[in-house]
């Protein structure tokens, strides 16, 4: 048990280190944006009619702590970031934590549901296609997986929008109906969310499903020809029981490990899909922050949060795999 604790601790430290490294990358990027927050804010005030001098900008800089050296500011930023505090948005002048809040959790929820959907489809279908001799099924699955790459989520979203507008005269956009948009959370609002969320979840899960299908199939085909499977079937085990208890257990291990990268891919597609479907979650906010207003504080916070959730998922799957897979457990506990 002590060894297991040590393993978890090592992984946690590694995850933390990755996050610190990522925060350095993100923070340097934020620094590279032309014009800092003070200039931007006062330029905004200038448009409102109040005259601005160089001294005002310097005073504002001092207030925001922008006159301190790079590493001090980075240190402050990262310490705050780990407490979920990202300061104020440059343009909107609202606390970022407040601005993101529910939107961020909604995005994470959407992406995790998409990931879940992807594997709920890919694992059974992938196993069947690896076990079957049916060439038609096999080839059509192959085609679907290629299409998952060639027709990326945002193009799929566009196509679905096109067909739904042409045929149903409806655009299928947004996450909430009008009457619930600003309503406080209750059961009715949740039901309304579910009514709208299936489409973004399907679209976000589309490429992930195609990729997962390919991986499951490949891993399964590798395992299915091995001797222990033949031995098991010689002992009279057959059908579903054989597939699930023998090759599938081995084949699914590496998949648990790659979940983090699948989530990464889904996050990548989130902003653009969100833009097309006009979802007002963190993804669309990111585009707003970057494309329209160059709001580096907000953009940095979103990228950091997305990466942090990937890193935590990676950490979680590492530990999960050690619990699930006796071989890895053995290698830790030796």
């Amino acid at each position: 048990m002590l060894e297991f604790g040590r393993f978890v601790a090592t992984r946690a430290i590694m995850a933390l280190f990755t996050l610190v490294l990522v925060s350095l990358i993100v923070f340097s990027l934020m620094e590279m944006v032309p014009a800092d927050c003070a200039e931007r804010y006062l330029a905004f005030k200038n448009t409102q009619g109040s005259g601005i001098s160089v001294e005002d900008i310097d005073a504002e800089r001092q207030r925001l702590g922008l006159d301190k050296p790079f590493f001090t500011r980075w240190g402050v930023w990262i310490v705050n970031a780990f407490q979920g505090e990202f300061g104020d948005s440059c343009i909107l002048r609202v606390s970022i934590a407040q601005l993101l809040g529910v939107k961020f959790w909604l995005s994470i929820g959407l992406c995790l549901s998409a990931l879940f959907l992807a594997y709920a489809i890919a694992i059974p279908v992938g196993i069947i296609s690896a076990a079957t001799n049916n060439r038609l099924l096999d080839n059509s699955l192959k085609f679907v997986s290629y299409l998952g790459l060639a027709l990326p989520n945002f193009l799929l979203a566009l196509m679905i929008m096109l067909f739904s507008t042409v045929w149903f005269g409806e655009t299928l956009t947004g996450l909430f109906s009008k009457e619930y948009r600003d309503a406080p959370w209750d059961f009715a609002k949740f039901v309304d969310l579910l009514k709208h969320a299936w489409l973004p979840i399907f679209i976000l899960g589309w490429s992930a499903t195609a990729f997962a299908l390919q991986t499951v199939r490949a891993l399964m085909s590798d395992e299915i020809g091995k001797l222990y499977v033949t031995a098991a079937s010689a002992r009279g085990i057959y059908g579903r029981k054989l597939l699930w208890r023998y090759p599938a257990r081995h084949a699914l291990g590496p998949i648990v490990n790659s979940l983090g990268f699948d989530l990464n891919r889904i996050f990548s597609e989130l902003p653009i899909v969100a833009l097309i479907l006009t979802l007002t979650d963190a993804g669309a906010l990111l585009i707003d922050a970057l494309a329209r207003s160059n709001d580096q504080q907000l953009a940095g916070a979103i990228i950091f949060l997305l990466t942090a959730s990937i890193v935590s998922l990676n950490f979680f799957t590492d530990v999960l795999l050690a619990v699930l897979d006796p071989r890895i457990r053995k290698s830790i506990l030796k």
Binding site: F17, L29, A150, P152, L158, G260, S268, L290, A291, I303
Partner: protein
């Protein structure tokens, strides 16, 4: 019987004496889907390269047809109500504003006036391959304009823009892949060849870069572009970003390959004979995985193309007057376009085909380059 054996003997001999490239080519030829994909790919690349010649009009605002904005695709036909002709034609389009149309400009086709398709017509001047000044276009019509895929809201020909967009994507992809490749080779190469602490540190950095979701990161970096940048500078900046963010996957593969390869006997032999590190890398290690690298490059190409499309689509990548799929699709999200002008989406088909062709060729190459694929089957 004798004849048969001697034939198979010579076939065997050809097999054993064949060079690596001949073997790969022989295996590649056997895969039907990959061969078809390769032909499609070559056709697309050539049509992209010859885009100025194949497209009837200039893809920028200079080639616009101001009498036919948001115009539907015009398919050449042989017959109409007045009978058939040997040469394909389209009907002329006329604009009218009168009391009948409520004093608004209305475009309508004139069924009585035929415009015949002409080949090798003179049109706007362009430079083929960037050097050859020409003004001959493959086809066009006399006394009017033909728009195979229709026009957009400025009256720009979508067919011409699509062909140019293919070429733009190929260029962005090539530059991006090249930059990613150089970085991957350097970083993955150092990590894999030296191993140990250097490898550990480089792996940490590679993994950290890989954890950041790519497109949000692209967006963040692309947003720093000053808006007054010229189209050309923008183009190179975008390619540079694609390369700078795309290297980690490739670097990892280079590293893994080097780590297994550097413990082989032939490397030890070279080192014992007094070869320097750079000599071992250049003469022994690099040739050992050129084919893998080529396959990886082909496979990572579509990702570059798709990232560029995504970036341009949200307005952070390329912009008018450059034609790229993302640029072409920018205006397509409005309900107006979806309901009335669906031909804005025609370029999507070409891009799905282009990416598919790349994926199939990449897969075919991977199977062909794997020396164990034959013994396994």
């Amino acid at each position: 019987m004798m004849h048969n054996t001697s034939q198979s003997q010579s076939a065997k001999e050809a097999y054993f004496t064949a060079s690596q490239h001949q073997l790969i080519w022989a295996r590649f030829k056997k895969q039907r889907t990959a061969m078809i994909a390769a032909i499609v790919l070559i056709v697309m690349i050539v049509s992209g390269l010859m885009a100025p010649f194949l497209s009837p009009y200039d893809p920028t605002i200079a080639g616009r047809d101001k009498d036919y904005t948001n115009g539907a695709p015009q398919m050449p036909k042989f017959c109409d109500t007045a009978g058939c002709a040997a040469r394909p034609f389209i009907h002329a389009v006329e604009r009218e504003r009168s009391i009948k149309t409520n004093f608004r400009w209305v475009t309508k086709t004139n069924e009585d006036k035929r415009l015949y398709l002409q080949f090798f017509v003179e049109g706007s001047t362009y430079k083929l391959f960037g050097v050859l000044p020409l003004d001959i276009h493959l086809f066009g019509v006399e006394g009017g304009k033909i728009h195979l895929f229709g026009t957009d809201e400025d009256g720009q020909d979508i067919f011409s823009r699509t062909l140019h967009a293919i070429w733009t994507s190929m260029k962005v992809g090539s530059i991006g892949v090249f930059i990613a490749f150089v970085l991957a080779l350097a970083i993955g190469g150092v990590a894999g060849y030296y191993g140990g602490v250097i490898d550990g540190v480089l792996q940490m950095i590679t993994d950290a870069v890989r954890t950041v979701p790519a497109i949000p990161l692209f967006m963040a970096v692309a947003a720093f572009m000053p808006p007054e940048m010229t189209a050309e500078a923008r183009f190179f900046y975008i390619s540079l970003i694609l390369g700078l963010i795309g290297w980690p996957t490739l670097a990892r593969r280079v590293r893994t390959h080097l780590l297994t390869e550097r413990n082989q006997e032939y490397i030890l032999a070279a080192q014992l004979s007094g070869a320097t590190s750079s000599h071992v890398i250049r003469r022994h290690l690099l040739p050992s995985f050129t084919s893998y690298i080529i396959v990886d490059l082909v496979i990572s190409f579509p990702y570059m193309v798709l990232s560029e499309t995504a970036l341009s689509f949200i307005g952070l990548g390329l912009k008018d007057p450059v034609s790229s799929l993302g640029v072409l699709l920018q205006k397509a999200t409005s309900a107006d376009v979806m309901l009335n002008y669906q031909w804005y989406f025609i370029p999507v088909i070409f891009f799905v085909v282009l990416v598919m062709a790349f994926v199939f060729v990449g897969d075919g190459l991977r199977d062909a380059a794997d020396p164990y694929s034959e013994t396994a089957s």
